[in-house]
Every structure is written in structure tokens, then in C-alpha cells.
Symmetry: C2
Subunit: 663 residues, 2 copies
């Protein structure tokens, strides 16, 4: 297998320029749709009204149609008496004519009868048999909406390229338009490629992964006003790929594939794509990270985009390169536009130079209403990296470093993005999940984002003003105390509010029946035992390392040598659940986790220690409503009663919810 | 016809309380949909992962899988040499085992072969026949994404009640879910009532109006996650209304009607609704303005809402009372929530006490980024009042007056509301429309809102910091000068930037052939001539009145007596187009309008005068990008060349676009 290096990389901007020099994206045609199906479509013509709105002079109140001058002398205590001249109802053509001295009863919306030039509200009249007393004078035109006063026949009402919201639909109905000319939706063919791709719902063979891009890109295409069609999965062989792209070109206006962009398969793609149409491949790769192996081609007038396989990479290239083109085809760009927001980063971001770095970020408002961007953790293969992101930032080729407190432009994945009410970064705990569930029960509108980075990462995020709140359980080796020593050591007592949480029992989780006979941490050193570790910086990892250091000391072995004896020490996961699931599946014999995990995954639990799981809150955000709601639930009887019951091994105590003054 | 006064009016809050005491809106059931159709649906269950993501340890780069300790001594200038052990491709199950001293070539995403615990990037290697040179050391775990490190089997991934955006769709695909449980959409039956209702597309009989509510409410129901069905139009007779409501109750979860809420027909509605189910009518009317005649009933477990007929009233009652209930049925309320924004009003708003006043407003940002709310002009029967509104404010029952500069909460009609880039309130001109068209051509993303209130209203709006810009043409009687005298008279020279516009020819427009032989303004006094006027405060109206005052003086008749001789003096329209359309239709013989109107509507034009049409711009907003773009276009050759050509009677001159210092 000979590897081809991507020689002709171009910048993102140049990639688009090259395509635009051959191709101008614009709406592809016009179709007529009934008004009831026109919502969110894009108007393809200027609309003038063919009718007057309202189409006749109409009464705007219930009352009496009169000749205004007949009422000029009317007063509360000196009414004018007119003759009752009959009734006009809405929807009827009045046959009555109003002559001097006559008042005709009229309903709201009814046609003003001939002769009348004003309406007196019913509240200012009293009917007495054949006569009507008028208690207030009216000026000519009063309580009449004149024909065409809202929209006149021939008037310009809606501009071409307007997106049809309920308002515009209302205007079109008002002027009597039942069918409306809109741009037809661009048809986009979608192909997934790669030998490893399996369809969701299928049982996964070893070595295969589920197709994600098909669904994320389809969803974004729908949001961009297009009509996506999934053509199929092509294995990594030229005939299959070629035939699916051909099929796509037949049925669609644009073809998008994802995957198969690794160096080996790319050579195949290059060759076959150039055979499918002229001018062929325009861009062989883009100077972005991620997204480098992106291919752009134009095949007999139809664009082809070959996106990378990794979901985050595929989506960011879709959003930054493909989406603007699709929106032009839909006729969307002139309207939906909140594509980016400004935000501040609170920790430096390092980037690879010579490439545009695309970095997914989570957004949160701080207490001053300033938007903060936080790069979501995980590699470009991670779907959670994407799931936790509201958008991404672009770091230009020439920059390899963004300082903390830099302002960045965040390109949004979704226009109706809304930062969460509570952004929790830190140690994962099922007790914390319970607090969030109870908060949701009290206020179903709350939105949370929880990013599991471990205790230390959470504390740092709170200190950098990224997170609202962090759960933490960091044991201090010297004092054997939890959490407070590390805060004092960092000298950040004044920056945080420290709130006592609850007690958790930590221990080893092993399969039912404890087949390997594991009793203590020391058993991790055994050759026949495999262990699943937590990420460094997590409280559980810190606890593990303290326990291992004690063993190292006892055994007089350097710590670094000791851990080499542990099969799996370097296999790190983010959450307690992940530990439970891994042991349950039999892939690992043992992990260190909190007790409820053992119950949840039907595992056996070997208690090791009790620990204090506490919360640090950013002092500047302490007044935030969601934080106050959090504290209320933490202190509530409801939570304290439920905790041990639903999560054995977790328990509240007298200090739960108490704010500790650290200064 | 006996009129029933709405005796049992309740407040908006109480109306909902009464309904909620009988009825709890919540999702109505669960259905399973394929992932490709799940976008924007609401998740009906907590989702845990049944698989690990990734499902196996995989390479995150192209390179060589190795045992990390084999590379520990590798350096750029002192590579370690390993034996080439074959290749592993993505999607294949590796049959090779890596033993000490061996490196196996591996593609991104491929399964890490047994024995290996790290991957060296291809860039840091060189293959030489059967050997591979390694130039950098790697630690255990390097360039490997471990099975389950993203999502572990058994892990909690998505919370019930989450709205499924492309992100969540991606997460579901990643964990292999092909079908997802979502709440079924609530079915809503929609009925329009009233003898006057015609369907768009039909020719309008005299006395009828097109159905608007059917389309606006349908569109809003779709946005609220419901499935609307239009049941039909019921004439104002009990059998027809009754049978349509019955049909609605059979097929839907909620029935909404609009119209037929005027006092007379309401009695019919009351009686028949109470026969259709228990407990029957709960609310007979609401203390709101508009929206008073709203009916709320519960008919054997299904809510019925009788909305007013006027589109603005119907929609505001829908948004404030019905929509929150529909969203609870859809399962939406927990997510889409940007329902309101804070804004400042720049002129006082008067309200009717004893009712909640609902006032539609337009929103615009001022130069400081402050959101300003401007009540849209027009009565509750006006569709343009609604079309120009971004939302509405609620003035509580007890308040009859909101001071200028009050902060108000604006309830948005649409969550992805976006204020216009340029808010123009003032005199309507086709030349101004041309400038906007040219601006759009240069920057298709621009969004405008133009509200035609006439010259004086526009100037006032700019002074109150509501509008960005106003077009004006106000003749001063004494000096015979345009625009500057009124600004000086108001002593507001320092608050505005005054920009010279262009010259417009004003004149009388009459039907082709001038059948009435009209020659001058004096002909308006003739008995056989009907005239269509412009709204007071408009420059054209001011011009007309100045001309009429001269005639009054000559004839020695008081002005107020003189205008009584003009048939139609009190029929006022907002725009020049409206004048043209009215004369074209034959409803009026003559109007005063700018010359291009005559061409546009194929009318005859009798020149009266040349006038200066200029612009005032809020000084504090002068730096706004859209205003600068406006001035650029005004000064451009493109505009000045196009103006007279496309709009005969309008012409630029040497001062066009010049900023005049008034101080």
C-alpha cells in the first residue's frame, strides 16, 4: 500500500474561491405550493396585492352606522335621537341606505351601508323601540376601517427571497393568495463510504462502527432547506463508490460523501471521481484541522463534496464549507443569519500552524452576561465532543496559540442555540444526576450541560470562570482531608463558594461471584487481573494513586514501576458508569467506582473508603437563579430522603448543603 | 337582535387557572420513529447506550501499531528499527498479533491488533522493505481511542424530554439506535367561522374577507410541534358550527375555532358548546384588549378554544393562552424557550384599564445595542399591524399608561426573531424602495422594516430614537422651504443628521383620458369628483392642506368648511401606491401622488409641484453599518442613474446624498 501525501492542500477560503470560479450556487427553480405548506419556504417572487384589505369599508366595533354630522351635538346628558333603520350583519351585503336622521345597527366587520360615514359604539347608544339615542358625537371616518387602508390593491407587500414565517403566511392569506411561488428545495444525495460502516439498528460486527454522518448531515441539510436523499453505503472499492456517486449525480443537485478519506482509499477516490465528470476534482485537501482530507469536485455542473469520516470533522467541514452553498441553493442566506456569536475563552487554546484549526466549544453566560466558550474535551473521533458543543471557533493558519481572555467568534451549529442554565464541569456523580433530575421536576424548563473532566479539571474550570459549578472529591495525602486542602493550597479560597455535598462509598467493582477473588487494591497488581482506570485528575484516580503510593512505599518499589504491573492502568474512562459498564461486559475484571454503580450494573462491591463529595461554585456566579435552585434541592428533604434510597452507598449528613467559609 | 354583554370576564391568568383546575396538558402518547425522521421531535424516554463507542480500541491516526516500550529509546536522529508485521485496514478484524520488536501498519479508525498498546504516526516513521524505522517514542495508549472511551455500554446518554437536534440525532446513531421513542404530535382541529369568510384563491364576493387565521394559526401550531387539521369554515348557524366542532372533537385532541365571537353570534356558540360535552364552557370572555370575546371550554376531556376573528387578536390570544398548552402537549416547553426579550419604549403607551392590553410591537436595536420596542400602527383588524410586529407586550389590568423609556417585556411571535438591520419609519417613497433594492443587491443579507406613518410621524420616531431613519417632505407655509424649517422649529437640529435626498414631482392622478376633466386642486371641490386622501402627518397631506388653505383664503371660506366640500377628504391611506390603486380601481376619481405612481398604475398625471424628499437620521445611530450602506447607495452613480429612468418624475440633483449642517 503506497501512501500519497496530500500535496495540494489549500486554505478554506481558497477552496471556496476555486469552487466559486467554476460554479455559482443559486436557487435551482421555482415551484408553486399551497399556502398551508409554505411555512419556512422562500418566496421566489415579489408579491403585489390583487385586492384591497379590507376589501370594503367595515365597522371596527359593534354599534350604529350614522352620518357623522347627525351626532355632532350629542352629549352624555343630552343625547341625539335617531330613527332605527335596521341591521347589517358581517358577511352580508347591506341593502339599507343611511339617510340623515337614521342609525343602522351594525356588527364588527360588517359592510358600512351606503350613506353612513361613521359608527357609534354600542356602549354609547341605547335603543328604544324604533329610536336610537346617541350619547357621544363621532367624527367622519370614526370606527370605520376603510377599504384598502391596510393593504391596497396593487400595493407591494412581500419581497422576493423572504422566508415565509407565520406572519408572511398571514399577509399572503389576507391578499387572497392560495398558492405561492417558492424556490424548489435543492436535492442532495448522501453517501456513506467505508468497509467499517454499519447501519444503526444492525448488530455490530467486531471492527465495525455505526454510521453517524448519514444522520447528522441529513439533519443539517433539512435545517438548511434542502431535501436530502440517502443513496447508500459504499464499501471501499472503486466500483461500488463510483456507482453510488453516479446514482447520486442522476437524482440530485449535489452529492456529498463521507468517510474513505484515509490516505490509502483516497487514491482510489481521486481516480474514479475524475472519470465521473468535468472539470473533476478542484480541491484535493484543505488546510484545516480537523478536515484535511476533504475533497471538492465539480462533475458536469454538479458539486461533489467528499467529507472526512470522523463525525466531528465531517460536521465542521459541512458547516463551514458545504452549508453556505446549500443555503444559497435553498434561497436561505438572506434571512436566517445568526451564524456566529462573540465569546471569551478562559484558558489558552493551542493550535497547529499552517492549518485553520476548527475547535468545537460549549457556550455559557457568566454572571455578567458575558458569553464564555469552553473547548469540549475529546478527540475528533468523539461524538460527545460534538454533542456538548454549541459551535466551533476557527483559528487561522498563522496562529498557533490563543491567549486566555481572547475574544473569539463562535460559529453556531444551530441558529436557535441557547446556552444551558447550568454548566457543570467536573467529577461525575450519580448523586449529582439525581439533583439535576429533581431540579427538572421543579422547573421543567431548565437546561443543563454536564461535562465530565474529573474533580481537578472541574475546580480549574470554575476558577477560570468557565463552569458554574463543579463536583469534587480530592483527597489530600498529608491531611487525609477532602477538597478543602487543594483549594487552600491553590490560594483560591476567595474565588469560590464551597458547599458541602454528601458522603460516597468508593470501592472495587467486580463481576457477580467475584470470580477472580479480588479483595483489595493490591490485587490489581496480579498478572491475571485487568483493571479499568479513570482519567487523571479525577478524584477517583487521585484516590487510587494515593492508595497505590502507600503500597509502593510498603513494597519499596517506585510508583512508576508499580503501575506497570497493573494491566489496564492506562485505559482511562470519564465516568463511574463507564467503569461499571466495562466490568459488566467482562472486558475488565475490576474498576474503582462508587457503590451505586455496583447495584446499577449488578456487580459485586468491595468497599475501600468513604469520601466527601462537595461542590465548588464560582463566586461571581453565585447569585445565578439556577445555582440557587441547585442549592435549594441539595438542602431539600426530598433530595436527602431520596439519595440513599435510590443510590445505596451515597448518603447525606448534617453538613449537606452547608456553605463553608474558607477564609 | 338582543346583545349579550360579556358578564363573566376573567383575567388571562385566571382563565388558565380555571382550565388547569380541570385539565392537565401533557404529552399524549409515545410513538417510535426512524432516526431519519426524528429531527425536532421530543425524546420520550431516557436513553442508555447498549454499546461501547467506539466499539473497539481504534487507531486515531494513520501509522504503526507497536508495543510502546519498544519505542522508548527512539529519537529523531537515532531511530529504533522494528520488523514490518503486515497491515490492518479499517473495518477488518486484524488477524495479526503484535509481539515485541514488530510494528504493524494501521489506518485511521482500524482495530488495534492484539498485543499493541500504542500507535506511532506515519509522519514519524519510515518503512524500508521489511523494516520500519521509528523516530519518536510513544507512551502506552498514545494515538488509541479506547473502546467505550466516548460512550460506554450502559452509560446514560440522553435525557427524556430532550428535543432532538442534529447533535442528539448523531448521539443516537452513534449508539446504534435506528428507531427512537418520541411523543406523538398532538392533533389540533381548526375551524374558521363566520358568514364573511372566503378562502384564499376564491374570487371575493362583496362583503366577504379572506380567511387569515386558518393559515397563521396552522403555521404557529406547526412551530409548536402539533399536527393541525383544518376541518372547514362554518357559517354563522348553530347546526353548521356544532357539526364541525363535533367532527373536530372526533379526530383531534384540541379544537380551536376563530371568528363568530361578536355579541350576537356568541349566544349561539354558548348554547351549542355546552351541549357538546362536559363540563362545557369554563371561560366566557377574557379581560384583555384585544381578545375579550375568547371562549375556553372543556368538552369530555378535550379543550376547545374559541378565538376572536380579527387576525391580530386571534394570534395574540393563541400565543398567550393556547400556545403554552399546545407546547406542553408536544413535550416542547422544556427546551425551546426564548419566549421574551426586554426592550425600552420610546413613547408612552396608553391602555384601557380593567383589561390586560396586548400591544404588538416592532423591535430594533439602537446604536448602543439597546432593544427598542415600537407599537406597530393600525387597528386590531389590520394584518400589517401584525406583519410588522416581532412580538407583543402585556400591560396589566391596573395600568393605563406606560411612560416613555419604560422597560417592557416583549413576548416574541417567533423564537428565531431577528430585528431588522434598518428600521425606517416615515414617508413612503418608491425612490426609497429603490435604494433598499440596491442595498439588497449589494448585501443580500440585509433585513429592512419599513413602516409608513408619513413624514411627521417619521421625524418624531427618529427623535424618539425608535427609527434609524425617516424619509420626509414637509413644506413650510411661510418660507416655502422643505423639511429644514420644521426641524428648526422643533429645535432638534442637534439630534439628527440631515441628508438631502432627491426631487419628486407631485401631482394629481386621474384615470386614463381624464374622464372628469380634472385640471387643478380646485376641481376636488366639485360635487361630481371623489378624492382619496393621505393620512394626516404625511408630507403629501401637508402639501394638500397648504394648497387648500390658499384656495380657502382666495374664496374667503374657512378651511374647515372648504374641506367638507371634498368628497373623500376623510378617506385616508398610508401610501402613494394605495392612492394609485384606488384611482385605478375607479373607486375614486383623483388622488395626490408622486409621478411614478401614474406610470405604475397606467393613470394620467397632472403636475402640481416639485418637492424635496430628504432624510433624517438619528445622530446616535449614524455609525450603524446599514445606515452607512444606505448613504453609500444614495450617493452612488448606480442609484442616481437608475432613479429617473425607473421612476419618472423623481430626480437626483447636485445635493443628493449631501449632509447639511443645520447648526
Amino acid at each position: 500500500m503506497e501512501r500519497k501525501i496530500f500535496k495540494k492542500l489549500v486554505s478554506m477560503e481558497d477552496a471556496l474561491k476555486i469552487l466559486y470560479s467554476h460554479y455559482t450556487p443559486k436557487p435551482l427553480g421555482i415551484e408553486e405550493v399551497p399556502l398551508e405548506r409554505a411555512l419556512n419556504r422562500v418566496l421566489a417572487e415579489d408579491v403585489y396585492s390583487d385586492v384591497d384589505v379590507p376589501p370594503f369599508d367595515r365597522a371596527t366595533v359593534d354599534g350604529f352606522a350614522v352620518i357623522a354630522s347627525d351626532t355632532f351635538h350629542a352629549h352624555e346628558n343630552r343625547p341625539v335621537t335617531l330613527r332605527y333603520g335596521g341591521t347589517v350583519d358581517a358577511g352580508k351585503v347591506p341593502k339599507i341606505k343611511v339617510v340623515p336622521g337614521v342609525a343602522v345597527e351594525i356588527g364588527t366587520g360588517a359592510v358600512i351601508p351606503k350613506g353612513a360615514n361613521a359608527v357609534v359604539m354600542v356602549e354609547h347608544t341605547s335603543r328604544e323601540g324604533d329610536f336610537v339615542k346617541i350619547y357621544r358625537s363621532v367624527a367622519p371616518g370614526h370606527n370605520i376601517q376603510f377599504a384598502g387602508s391596510d393593504v391596497m390593491k396593487g400595493e407591494f407587500v412581500l419581497r422576493k427571497n423572504t422566508i415565509l414565517t407565520p406572519h408572511e403566511i398571514g399577509v399572503l392569506a389576507a391578499v387572497g393568495i392560495a398558492k405561492v411561488k417558492v424556490y424548489r428545495k435543492p436535492k442532495i444525495a448522501l453517501i456513506s463510504t467505508g468497509d467499517e460502516i454499519a447501519e444503526p439498528g444492525e448488530t455490530l460486527e467486531y471492527g465495525k462502527i455505526y454510521d453517524i454522518n448519514r444522520f447528522t448531515i441529513t439533519s443539517h441539510l433539512i435545517e438548511d432547506g434542502a431535501e436530502p436523499t440517502f443513496i447508500g453505503v459504499a464499501r471501499d472499492n472503486p466500483d461500488e463508490i463510483s456507482s453510488l456517486i453516479k446514482k447520486g449525480l442522476e437524482v440530485a443537485d449535489v452529492v456529498i460523501s463521507s468517510g474513505s478519506t484515509s490516505a490509502g482509499v483516497r487514491d482510489i477516490l481521486y481516480n474514479l471521481i475524475n472519470k465521473l465528470g468535468k472539470p473533476g476534482i478542484l480541491v484535493h485537501g484543505i488546510k484545516t484541522k480537523p478536515g484535511k482530507p476533504t475533497i471538492i469536485a465539480l462533475l458536469n455542473g454538479k458539486p461533489f463534496f467528499g467529507l472526512p469520516g470522523y463525525p466531528t470533522s465531517a460536521l465542521m467541514i459541512y458547516k463551514s464549507i458545504v452549508s453556505p452553498i446549500i443555503r444559497k441553493l435553498s434561497g436561505y442566506p438572506t434571512i436566517k443569519r445568526r451564524k456566529s456569536v462573540k465569546a471569551i475563552i478562559k484558558s489558552p487554546i493551542y493550535a497547529e500552524t499552517g492549518k485553520t484549526n476548527l475547535v468545537p466549544v460549549s457556550l455559557i453566560y457568566d454572571s455578567k452576561g458575558q458569553l464564555i466558550a469552553f473547548p469540549t474535551p475529546g478527540g475528533s473521533g468523539s461524538i460527545m465532543k460534538l454533542a456538548n458543543a454549541d459551535g466551533y471557533i476557527k483559528i487561522p493558519e498563522t496562529i498557533n496559540f490563543l491567549e486566555e481572555n481572547s475574544e473569539v467568534e463562535v460559529f453556531l451549529f444551530s441558529e436557535d442555540f441557547e446556552p444551558p442554565d447550568l454548566f457543570i464541569i467536573g467529577s461525575h456523580c450519580l448523586g449529582l444526576d439525581l439533583i439535576l433530575s429533581l431540579m427538572i421536576r421543579r422547573n421543567p424548563n431548565l437546561k443543563f450541560r454536564v461535562v465530565n473532566t474529573g474533580s481537578y479539571g472541574g475546580l480549574m474550570s470554575v476558577l477560570r470562570d468557565e463552569a458554574d459549578l463543579a463536583g469534587m472529591h480530592i483527597l489530600d495525602e498529608k491531611t487525609n482531608e477532602y477538597n478543602i486542602p487543594v483549594i487552600k493550597h491553590l490560594k483560591v479560597e476567595e474565588k469560590v463558594v464551597f458547599v458541602k455535598g454528601y458522603i460516597r462509598r468508593q470501592g472495587l467493582v467486580v463481576q457477580k461471584g467475584n470470580p477472580k477473588g479480588i479483595k483489595s487494591i493490591e490485587d490489581l497488581l496480579r498478572d491475571d487481573v485487568s483493571f479499568i482506570n479513570r482519567i487523571s485528575g479525577s478524584g477517583t484516580r487521585i484516590l487510587l494513586d494515593i492508595l497505590l503510593k502507600k503500597i509502593a512505599l510498603e513494597k519499596n518499589i517506585p510508583f512508576n514501576e508499580l503501575i506497570k504491573k497493573i494491566d489496564g492502568y492506562h485505559v482511562e474512562v470519564r465516568t463511574h458508569n463507564a467503569v461499571g459498564a466495562a466490568v459488566k461486559s467482562g472486558k475488565f475484571d475490576v474498576g474503582l467506582a462508587i457503590e451505586p454503580i455496583a447495584h446499577m450494573y449488578e456487580l459485586e462491591f468491595i468497599p475501600i473508603t468513604n469520601e466527601y463529595y462537595d461542590f465548588v461554585i464560582s463566586k461571581s456566579r453565585f447569585e445565578k437563579e439556577a445555582i440557587q435552585q441547585f442549592l435549594e434541592v441539595l438542602k431539600s428533604e426530598e433530595f436527602q430522603k431520596t439519595l440513599s434510597k435510590s443510590l445505596p452507598g451515597l448518603k447525606p449528613y448534617e453538613d449537606t448543603g452547608r456553605i463553608i467559609n474558607l477564609i
